[in-house]
Amino acid sequence: MAWPALIAFTIFGVIPLFGVLYLSFSSWNGLSETIPMSGLESWKSVLSDPGLPHALWVTFLIMALSWLAQTPISILLGVFIAKHARYRSVLAVLFFVPLLLSQVAISITYKMLLDPNFGLGAGLGLEFLQQDWLGDSTLAVGVVIFVVSWQWIPFHSLIYQGGVRQIPASMYEAAEIDGAGRVRKFFSITLPQLKYTIITSSTLMVVGSLTFFDLIWVLTAGGPGDATRALAVDMYQRGFKATLMGPASVIAVILVLLGLGLALLLRRLGGRDATESQLEGA
């Protein structure tokens, strides 16, 4: 019964994984019938290209800063909506809406909102909003991180909400008897108990951030200059814009290795088996 799923995933998931390694030794232009092999040429050209360290840096920057922005806010919101109060559940419903919008829709919206001449800043006469957000290298990276966080904080706060609800009330009761205040309880009970939730959420954030493409492409197309040219954008530009599938495949292989490496690293930190049952003793 596992065959249909296995076949589908093998054709478009597993074979391409090896295919991309194969293509990284080719000089295919994406159009020709035959795929000319060129050995290590693509690898040499990519690894000696200063564009690669830059793309890695941009990717790392977006990964690290969006993690830093998202994690504390998601934990606080998760703790907040985990308590059972009607207005909080209403808030939680609304919080989720950004996740429903496509990254394309979100990027187009923010592009318009941040337009220095016709956007929100100009319309409201707010000086600080009237900057050339997407035309300035530093600001553009900031905008990408903000928009990413805007979309994904709701999702991660949901994960934290689930985590918080699993913490036994008796731990809090015991802490209260010992005279612990709210802040103390947060740092001594909530946060340590959320350890595995933090690892899960961080894994999704970090590995996911390697693949940001739609959002960056529509928002900045990697620009201004190459300020937001993260790995996935770099791969698209090399492969489908410059028709250099060999070098683009090299970038893709690097993406896979980074993704697997990061996932394994974070898994080691967690030290748990994801296939274990959720039920105790099952």
Binding site: A5, G19, L100, V207
Partner: protein, 299 residues
């Protein structure tokens, strides 16, 4: 989910073992800090969405002359009419075909695989390997394999068809769906399977009459989640189609923005129209989606 295991592993709180009903921390006093942060975040979330909606009802002239956060004095459906007259309906149906065409087979295949894995892993090395492949698949980003996928689609002579988007979408919906569904099926008590077998039910019978009804919340969850993914997908349509006839909504949005970027209210009307079906789905299936997501990812 997490803590039951944590306790067992760490041992430090193993004696607690609370009954499920007492797990919720009590609301003792009003949390001013949390409340403030919550409402603040609501503002961050809602203002852009509010702006999209009200602006989509503004006339173009008003857009440049009025305060962006004030609702239009004379709400107009002009932008919606404009968008609907410009092939929006075709793109909409392309998106519907792609989404249904990808999600339905993906969920059926994933459910069967999840069932087989849960029921057979203890005796079958093959099924354990299959499960390993899917778990590994969770870490394979679509972006990383898009070039070979493009090559395969060309070799299959499917470039520039809706099928070109559908087939890879099915494949990439499978790993996560299998994970979530197998987590649910694994929690079905073994005794139920045993009694079905004693009653003489086949594996298919057990799958349909026992696992399917008990897994329904998870099935709804993964269906909504994967539907969302495919509906909002951009990379596959961008790379695997070319003809405007084959555009799906996210692609149409970018094309639309390029063509009519002076007409901002019209672009925003198309954003609203693109999101509306998902919003309806969310309102209907919200509880399922949220509970399923926490169960699927909270591990």
């Amino acid at each position: 989910m997490t803590t039951t295991l944590d306790h067992r592993k760490s041992g430090k709180a193993a004696h607690v073992a609370p009954p499920p009903t007492s797990r919720r921390p009590k609301l003792l006093q009003y949390n001013w800090f949390g409340g403030l942060a919550g409402w603040l975040w609501l503002g961050v979330v809602i203002i852009p969405i509010y702006w999209i909606v009200i602006t989509s009802f503004k006339l173009q002239a008003d857009y440049y002359s009025t305060n962006p956060l004030v609702p239009p004095a004379n709400p107009s459906l002009e932008n919606y009419r404009f968008v609907l007259e410009h092939d929006f309906v075709r793109y909409f149906f392309n998106s519907v075909i792609v989404t249904v065409g990808a999600v339905a087979p993906a969920i059926v295949a994933s459910f069967m695989a999840a069932y087989a894995i849960v029921r057979g892993s203890s005796v079958s090395r093959f099924l354990r390997t299959v499960n390993g492949v899917f778990l590994m698949g969770l870490a394979i980003p679509l972006q990383a394999v898009i070039i070979p996928v493009y090559l395969i689609i060309i070799k299959l002579q499917m470039y520039d068809t809706l099928g070109a988007i559908i087939l890879p979408s099915i494949a990439f919906a499978i790993p996560l769906s299998v994970l979530v569904l197998s987590n649910f099926i694994r929690d079905i008590p073994k005794e139920l399977f045993e009694s079905m077998r004693i009653d003489g039910a086949t594996e298919w019978g057990t799958l349909w009459r026992l696992a399917l009804p008990l897994t329904r919340p998870a099935l709804v969850t993964v269906t909504i989640y994967q539907g969302l993914q495919v509906w909002n997908g951009f990379l596959l349509p961008l790379i695997l189609t070319q003809n405007p006839d084959k555009r799906v909504l996210p692609l149409a949005l970018t094309a639309f923005q390029g063509q009519y970027n002076i007409n901002i209210p019209a672009v925003l009307a198309s954003v609203v129209l693109t999101t509306l079906p998902i919003l309806v789905l969310y309102v209907v299936g919200r509880r399922q989606l949220l509970s399923g997501l926490t169960a699927g990812f909270g591990k």
